[in-house]
């Protein structure tokens, strides 16, 4: 995977993870272009786009769009399931997740993503294991510095 973007229906970026080295300017241009393209698409349209030499796979969950860019040989359907698994993880962690959880706790959303995907590849696909890793890190946090 080359990058993942989360953005709202209003086009506001909520999360961005880049797995390929790109300059700040390029990143901005890419996210602007993609957000525009995807928001213009109708709900019944297919979830895949060919964009530059990449494949874009996106899916909307409530008010949030999840969008991944993968290479040409990659499997589109499994990428959709990666998105879905990530949503499941967020859901389990926050307890029926909503956009606000991600806005206010975006760093947590990043930590979960980093346990699930590493360097752009699925690292751990077992839901239980990902959450266990996150909980351990969180636990440490709470013990060492009680809020």
């Amino acid at each position: 995977m080359q990058f993942m973007l989360l953005f709202s229906r209003q086009g506001k970026l909520r999360l961005q993870k880049w797995y390929v080295p790109l300059s700040d300017k390029e990143r901005k241009k890419i996210s602007r272009d993609l957000v525009q393209t995807i928001l213009a698409r109708k709900p019944k349209m297919c979830s895949f786009l060919e964009w530059r030499d990449l494949k874009i796979v996106y899916k909307r969950y409530a008010s949030l769009y999840f969008c991944c860019a993968v290479e040409d040989q990659d499997n589109e359907l499994i990428t959709l399931e990666i998105i879905h698994r990530y949503v499941e993880l967020l859901d389990k962690y926050f307890g029926s997740v909503c956009e606000l959880d991600i806005i206010f706790n975006f760093e947590k959303a990043y930590f979960i993503l980093d346990e699930f995907l590493l360097g752009g590849e699925a690292q751990e696909t077992s839901k239980k294991n990902v959450l266990k890793a996150i909980e351990q890190a969180d636990l440490l946090q709470e013990c060492t510095f009680p809020v």
């Binding site: 506001k12 970026l13 961005q16 993870k17 880049w18 797995y19 080295p21 790109l22 700040d24 901005k28 698409r41 109708k42 019944k44 349209m45 297919c46 895949f48 786009l49 060919e50 969950y61 409530a62 040989q73 499997n75 589109e76 359907l77 499994i78 959709l80 399931e81 698994r85 926050f94 307890g95 029926s96 997740v97 909503c98 606000l100 206010f104 706790n105 975006f106 760093e107 947590k108 990043y110 930590f111 980093d114 590493l118 360097g119 590849e121 699925a122 690292q123 751990e124 696909t125 077992s126 239980k128 294991n129 890793a133 351990q136 890190a137 440490l140 946090q141 060492t144 510095f145 809020v147």
Partner: protein, 885 residues
């Protein structure tokens, strides 16, 4: 998702009043980030947001610089900086502090520090060098969390040159007792392999150990490396085939812990990874492929559940089956599976189905045939992505018979989507393909430019074309093909007025004049250029131009073009090319005259007409250049009749009224009532009627019939018709498809790569099969059914036989019956149907059907047969027979 909305709504007040409780996932009441976010949501304009963020960044800057800021505060500040960056504002001053936080913070502060680093920087950033020691220290920490964080950050980004510094420590982690550490270490090494393959060469044996790790997570992670290694060099890893097959069999068989199930499918990510690896291993290697047939079949069989994830596996499985050495039984199953995708109502699956088809038709074009109707539907799909994939598929099955229709569809699509790109691409198509192109390509192009309402978009397209041509003409023009120059002249003549007047109004004229003076410009092109100049000087811009020379020339040209006598005196006919007549010729062309052909050329045309035409007439004849001169401003619109593909019957019959159109070759069907009567009297079901392959109603049928809204099957019929022209020629004789190829450059180039020159030559000079037809006695109803089932067709106009006591149609058909032993099935009005069957030769016993219709002074004949050669040769013999009569 409704509960999500509900939750959002119920969460809002508490979040806005910021009194939520602490805990995982909940916002701290005193959070400054909370305040910032809240502040932003209350804003109404982008401008206000900018101001607020600027203020926020100022305050962040101040705080990070202050020596009194604790690491704990720094962590909180860093989160806000990340947020500002995400909104698109630069916070580069905080990067160094992010590194500091990762270096000096306690575990949880470090975590945010590392996160900020990974979000702010990329692996080329020099700042990262400052992190190397910290990473090294954390990798050696006894705290698992710290080791994990360090491994996470190195797997995302690490300066290439510094890899040796940490490599031994990461390598050590491959034997760590905790699987999470081993897994992350494997992925870190994978990353190192990607950015610096040489550095990890010595640890390949350790990768094998990871592949055999008892933890499925670690094993899965190691497959990332193997996929990459095998992709680059499959030969060195053939020995792994057995292991990969075994792993896949175990996974498919449900031997993994249930934790790895995803929606009750065992480890789909792992399965897909293995399938991809097997594809690389088995490609062009029969021995290796044979090892995996069983497990591939099992994967296909097991993935039956109707869930997206099983489709993902199926798709990968099909891809692998079509990549490895073929096994017919498996291919059959895979093709069936593709069918399920294509026919699925889910759009994502349909898209992948089309994609899979695109992939497999390269091996067997016939695989597209069962899905004709779905493909036609997708061609008009509202989603461009689906449309584009369909075109890609059509491109793969392009052959001599359907190339015109397919190219037309492609051009249509291009025009709709990418204006600028379209012009640029067409420019290169014209410059490269130039004079070997079929004339209908430039024709179609001009039509596309001229068509459409005069809206902003169309004007932009035209203006862009004009601008790009002007800059082309300003450069070297000697190498541009004549056809392209003609296109350029027409467009400049037609649309130069769209240019802004800021530039010198005479510049276009001068460019054209230069073109006219150039020696290599052909006479035909000159006439186009002159036509363009005539159009330009009739515009007040030039005849009233301030440039006196130009004004004079324009006026001269105008007067001379109006006064023939004067012109003869001013420009005496001394040059043998008669180029002074060009203006006159172009005028005559504009008025509808046919272009001049030398006797030699006419002879050639005649011969050509008698020879085999390998190109189908399709749905309508491409209107030749001659019938519509390009100097006629309206002509391209008239040309649009050749897009009868999408036109409906009323439109066409309306156009039929206008005299400018040539209608021979346009398909006709039987008069509705006439045919129906036949049907009923023959006791047949009336369905074949609506399936007759033409949306056009015969003009002979009563007006009330014509007006009557057609049955619901009408659009379907159109689609069938389109299908027949798109899928014509698929099957037995694909080599012929290269004969007429230079239609667009990319089609040409792509196919030429695979083309065998000698095949092309052979196909061109394929001898006619020996023909010995015998009558084929069929009923009208059977004729209709057969007609629809035959895929090879051909159309041609033949001369009519005239006798005193007979109708021309009857006389002609009688002549054919006598000479060639054809069976005249029926004659109704000006149309007749004829059938025969072949006694000898390659298509022995195969039928051929003829549909004849009198049009003006000729007989429009449409032949169909299941054998490709049959219509050709039969037509040839018909022509011969009628000439002799």
């Amino acid at each position: 998702m409704s509960d999500v909305v509900e939750k959002t709504l119920s969460a809002l007040p508490s979040l806005l009043s910021l009194d939520s409780q602490a805990g995982a996932g909940k916002l701290s009441p005193s959070s400054k980030l909370g305040n910032l976010i809240k502040g932003i949501t209350e804003l109404t304009s982008k401008h206000e947001e900018e101001r607020l963020i600027k203020k926020e960044l100022e305050s962040i800057k101040e705080q990070v610089a202050s020596p009194n800021t604790t690491m704990r505060q720094m962590k909180e500040i860093m989160v806000r900086a990340i947020y500002c960056e995400m909104l698109g504002y630069q916070a580069s001053f905080s990067y160094i502090h992010a590194i500091k936080l990762a270096q000096q913070g306690s575990v949880l502060e470090k975590r945010v520090g590392y996160l900020a680093v990974s979000l702010f920087l990329n692996e080329t950033d020099e700042f990262l060098l400052l992190l190397v020691n910290t990473v090294l220290k954390d990798l050696q920490s006894t705290n698992l969390i710290e080791v994990c964080m360090a491994l996470t950050v190195v797997s995302q980004m690490f300066p290439k040159d510094m890899i040796p510094a940490i490599l031994p420590v990461v390598e050590e982690k491959l034997t760590h007792p905790k699987e999470i550490i081993r897994r992350k270490a494997v992925l870190a090494l994978y990353k190192f392999y990607l950015i610096a393959p040489n550095q990890v060469q010595h640890i390949h044996s350790k990768f094998r150990k990871a592949l055999c790790d008892k933890d499925p997570g670690v094993m899965t992670a190691s497959l990332h490396i193997y996929l990459q290694l095998i992709k680059e060099n499959p030969e060195s890893y053939k020995d792994l085939t057995g292991s990969m097959v075994t792993i896949l069999r175990q996974v498919v068989g449900g031997k993994l812990p249930l934790d790895f199930n995803y929606h009750s499918v065992p480890a789909p990510w792992l399965q897909i990874q293995l399938l991809r690896i097997l594809a690389y291993l088995g490609k062009e290697d029969q021995g290796t492929s044979e090892m995996m047939y069983d497990v591939l079949e099992e994967s296909l069989r097991r993935a039956e559940m109707n869930h997206n994830i099983t489709y993902a596996i199926l798709f990968e499985c099909v891809k692998t089956i079509y990549t490895v050495h073929p096994k017919s039984q498996l291919l059959e199953k895979a093709a069936e599976c593709i069918g399920n995708f294509v026919l699925s109502p889910k759009i994502n699956l349909k898209y992948l189905g089309l994609k899979a088809l695109t992939y497999v038709v390269q091996q067997d074009a016939n695989l597209a045939l069962p899905h004709q109707m779905t493909i036609i539907e997708c061609l008009d799909h509202s989603d461009v992505i689906i449309k584009r994939e369909t075109l890609e598929l059509l491109f793969r099955i392009t052959n001599a018979q359907n190339v015109t229709v397919i190219v037309e569809k492609m051009l249509e699509f291009l025009r709709l989507t990418y204006n600028v790109w379209f012009i640029q691409t067409m420019n290169s198509v014209f410059s490269l393909g130039g004079d070997v192109m079929q004339p209908d390509i430039p024709n179609n192009f001009l039509r596309l430019l001229a068509e459409g309402v005069d809206n902003v978009e169309d004007r932009q397209l035209r203006l862009f074309a004009v601008d790009s041509y002007v800059s082309l003409l300003q450069g070297e023009t000697a190498k541009l093909p004549q056809r392209f120059l003609q296109v350029i002249s027409w467009v400049l003549g037609e649309y130069s007025y769209l240019r802004e007047e800021e530039s010198d109004p005479g510049s276009v004229m001068r460019l054209l004049a230069r073109l006219l003076d150039q020696r290599h410009t052909s006479t035909e092109t000159r006439s186009w250029v002159l036509g363009a100049m005539t159009k330009l000087c009739s515009s007040p811009v030039y005849s009233g131009s301030l440039n006196t020379v130009l004004r004079q020339k324009a006026q001269e040209l105008m007067i001379l073009s109006q006064d023939t006598k004067l012109r003869a005196r001013v420009l005496p006919a001394e040059d043998s090319s008669l180029s002074f007549l060009d203006g006159y010729v172009s005028e005559a062309l504009a008025a509808g005259a046919a272009p001049y052909k030398s006797p030699h050329q006419r002879q050639e045309d005649l011969v050509q007409e008698k020879a085999l035409s390998l190109e189908p007439y399709g749905l309508s004849l491409p209107v030749s250049l001659s019938s519509c001169s390009i100097t006629d401003r309206r002509s391209p619109t008239l040309l649009s009749m050749s897009s009868g593909l999408s036109g409906n019957s009323t439109e066409l019959s309306h156009q039929e009224g206008s005299t400018t159109l040539k209608l021979e070759g346009v398909k006709r069907v039987w008069g509705k009532d006439g045919y129906l009567a036949q049907q009923q009297s023959a006791g047949e079901t009336p369905t074949p009627l609506v399936e007759l392959p033409s949306p056009l109603l015969s003009p002979q049928s009563p007006p009330s019939q014509t007006q009557k809204p057609s049955s619901g099957l009408e659009p379907d019929q159109e689609k069938r018709q389109l299908a027949s022209s798109l899928f014509v020629g698929l099957g037995s004789h694909n080599s012929v498809c290269l004969v007429r190829f230079p239609s667009t450059v990319w089609l040409f180039i792509k196919h030429c790569q695979s083309a065998n020159q000698s095949n092309v030559v052979k196909a061109l000079f394929k001898p006619l099969p020996l023909l010995l037809p015998v009558p084929l006695t069929v009923s009208t109803g059977d004729y209709g059914k057969m007609w629809l089932s035959f895929s090879h067709d051909l159309k041609q106009n033949l001369q009519l036989v005239t006798t005193e006591h007979q109708e021309p149609l009857t006389a002609t058909l009688d002549a054919l019956k006598g000479k060639l032993h054809l069976h005249v099935v029926d004659i109704i009005g000006s149309e007749g149907i004829v059938a025969c069957r072949l006694l000898q030769g390659p298509g022995q016993g195969q039928p051929c059907l003829l549909h004849c219709r009198v049009h003006a002074d000729s007989l429009a004949v449409w032949l169909r047969s299941p054998v490709p050669e049959l219509p050709d040769s039969l037509l040839y013999h018909c022509q011969k027979a009628l000439t002799e009569t």
